[in-house]
Amino acid sequence: MASSAPAPDATARMQLRDGELLATREILPGQWLQTYAAPWLSAGARAGQFVHVRTPDWSGLVLRRPFSFNTIDRIRGEVSIHFRVTGKGTEWLARMRPGERLEMLGPLGRPFEVDPRTRHVLLLAGGLGIAGVRALADEALETGRRVALLFGAATAAEVYPSSLLPDEVEYVVATDDGSLGHHGYVTDLVPGYEAWADQAFACGPHPMLAAVAKLAGGRDARMGVARLGRKGGGRVDPLGSTAARRKAWLQVSMEQNMGCAVGACLGCVVMGTDGPQRVCREGPVFAADEIAWDERS
């Protein structure tokens, strides 16, 4: 509606419209997967972006609830979200029935940026963090890339069902109690894939992301990757730009309490190396080197 020329980094414009619930299912204890008919969203949304949904007036809740796109089906005009029931908002959402409508504001935020040269995509998810990277599996497979998903959970009962993943995805599981797959953290599995992966994309609890970021920091040296650049040293892309993110080996999807979700209230910041960064606007996807990992955020 605003007639300004789109910025070079611009993705699809946000819209405020309804989506109709098509299917709702409890895929894990307390975790729900819901599919909505929202062609206006699926047309422009990209993996890593999110939608801000409104709870009803009578709920007494004053804030919307943000959810990453779990899948984006452009052909059928559907998007899905995956959430855990943690409070009144998600409790109400879980009780919605097919046919009911949900007011959605989206698509919001900046998506994962996959380098055009990347052949092997590594996805890292901790628990519900799968909701943040799941859509990228589809996007990467569509463009002919190979995808490995390393998934970590507390116990076998919380492991994301492989039936909900495309067959082509290499799915590796770690559980804290060893009840399924690797006994330990999902981050333990990363060294085995760091040579294979051209790029990695992670979403999960803050300590997990910090640990992965630390691993990624030393990768260039271990792999013997030289940053010689082009003649004259090459162009340095500004931190946070799409071009810089596309070149980053590790991108992370961050989480924070959110207010407006359009960049107005400055409520959802995480501390970045370059000052506070809005998760809703500069994020939720960041290159790992944009985040100040040692500061609690």
Binding site: M1, A2, S3, S4, R13, M14, Q15, L16, R54, T55, G60, L61, V62, L63, R64, L105, Q256, N257, M258, G259, C260, A261, V262, G263, A264, C265, L266, G267, C268, V269, V270, M271, G275, P276, E295, R296, S297
Partner: protein, 384 residues
């Protein structure tokens, strides 16, 4: 024969937000622009009353400066909830708003408080953004030229920690095209006075208002804090120091805990409470203030429906600001404008101005002959 129910439609036929870039500066609107658009009428239905007698929602927030701050309608958006006006432009017709109060602006840039900065609470939310902003010069550079092309006036919200801070910021804003006025956030620590908020101290509130008044001829609003022991004193001091209008209220200090970590949830420990929980407090402050000042009052605090708007108007406010409710419903202000128009039309009011102060003991009589209710500082329940 029963008359047909009035139907008023104020939404425009075509996207008016194209005006964001295209409209040449027209700062002083004389009547609600939304009423210029054709109203929804059908040929075989008699024109509803509203179409014959248009409702005038315009309101002058700086009567002492004729024409300086006449809003086309009394629905504003509150500082800190609407950024600089550009963030919501994709989904909100910002040119339909009465005015926009931009994010709090300080002399130097501020990085703000450590996260988390917001959390939801029963019937409200807490925020402790910490006045993150790029500083007044950057705000002017980045947004003033854009604001100057907008039809909707933009009030720059100003914060500081000394009188000199406020004066310097306001001097820089003075005369900048696109800045329609200034709203002072005086709920900031007065570093020179041991960090006590200006808004809690009658002398400091008067002094900062007077200093800013001397520095600019821009319309000047000053924002009351609900934490003041007696808001009437503060309001009188602000009026006496030359403010054009009072906005009331700012957030009320509160906190939340993170039970898993057994620590305060917000990075800054304390945050400002806003949302529906604040509405009765805001209403009380507006009601008390309206009995002691003659300048317009802009009500803020939990506005989420037409009922809230009417309550505030009847308690003595000339206009209202929508804040926290925007987060759930960005299009609420546009809808409130339509609903207020319909309400006035249905009751035969030529303007919402007829409602202002109608619930006061004086029934909205001139300030000099006002009957007064007892102040809340004497206790809410116990009557001597």
């Amino acid at each position: 024969v029963k008359r047909k129910k009035s139907v008023v439609t104020v939404r425009h036929a075509a996207g008016t937000s194209r005006l964001i870039e295209a409209t040449p500066g027209r700062r002083k609107a004389t009547r609600a622009r939304s009423l210029d658009a054709p109203l929804a009428t059908s040929a075989d239905v008699p024109a509803p009353r509203a179409a014959r007698e248009p409702v005038d929602l315009s309101i002058d927030l700086a009567p002492a400066r004729p024409g300086a701050l006449v809003l086309v309608n009394p629905i504003l958006v509150a500082s800190g909830t609407f950024g600089y006006g550009v963030e919501y432009a994709d989904v909100v017709d910002i040119q339909a708003l009465g005015a926009i109060c931009c994010k709090g602006t300080t002399l130097k840039s501020r990085v703000g408080n450590p996260p988390p900065r917001v959390t939801e609470t029963p019937a409200g939310m807490l925020n402790s953004i910490g006045l993150q902003n790029p500083g007044v010069d950057a705000v002017i550079d980045k947004y003033a030229a854009l604001w100057a092309r907008w039809q909707v006036p933009v009030l720059v919200n100003v914060a500081g920690e000394s009188i000199e801070d406020y004066v310097t910021v306001v001097r820089r804003l003075d005369g900048v095209p696109g800045v329609a006025g200034v709203e002072l956030n005086i709920s900031c620590p007065n570093v020179g006075k041991g960090g006590l908020q200006f808004a809690l101290d009658r002398e400091a509130a008067g002094a900062v208002t007077a200093a800013v008044r001397r520095a600019t001829d821009l319309p000047l609003l000053v924002k009351l804090s609900p934490a003041a022991v007696d808001v009437r004193e503060i309001a009188r001091a602000i009026e006496g120091a030359g403010a054009d209008a009072i906005s009331a209220i700012n957030t009320l200090s509160g906190m939340a805990l993170d039970r898993d970590r057994r620590r305060p949830l917000l990075g800054n420990t304390y945050g400002g409470l806003s949302g529906p929980a604040l509405k009765p407090i805001g209403l009380r402050v507006v009601y008390e203030t309206a009995q002691v000042v003659s300048i317009p009052i802009v009500a803020i605090g939990g506005v989420g429906s037409l009922d809230d708007v009417l309550d505030y108007l009847m308690a003595g406010a000339s206009a209202v600001q929508v804040g926290t409710a925007l987060f759930a419903d960005p299009q609420l202000p546009e809808r409130l404008i339509g609903e207020l128009t319909a309400y006035c039309a249905a009751r035969g009011l030529a303007s919402h101005r007829e409602l202002i102060g109608s619930a006061l003991p004086s029934g909205g009589a001139p300030a000099a002959r006002r009957a007064k209710d007892r102040p809340s500082s004497k206790g809410a329940e116990y009557r001597p």
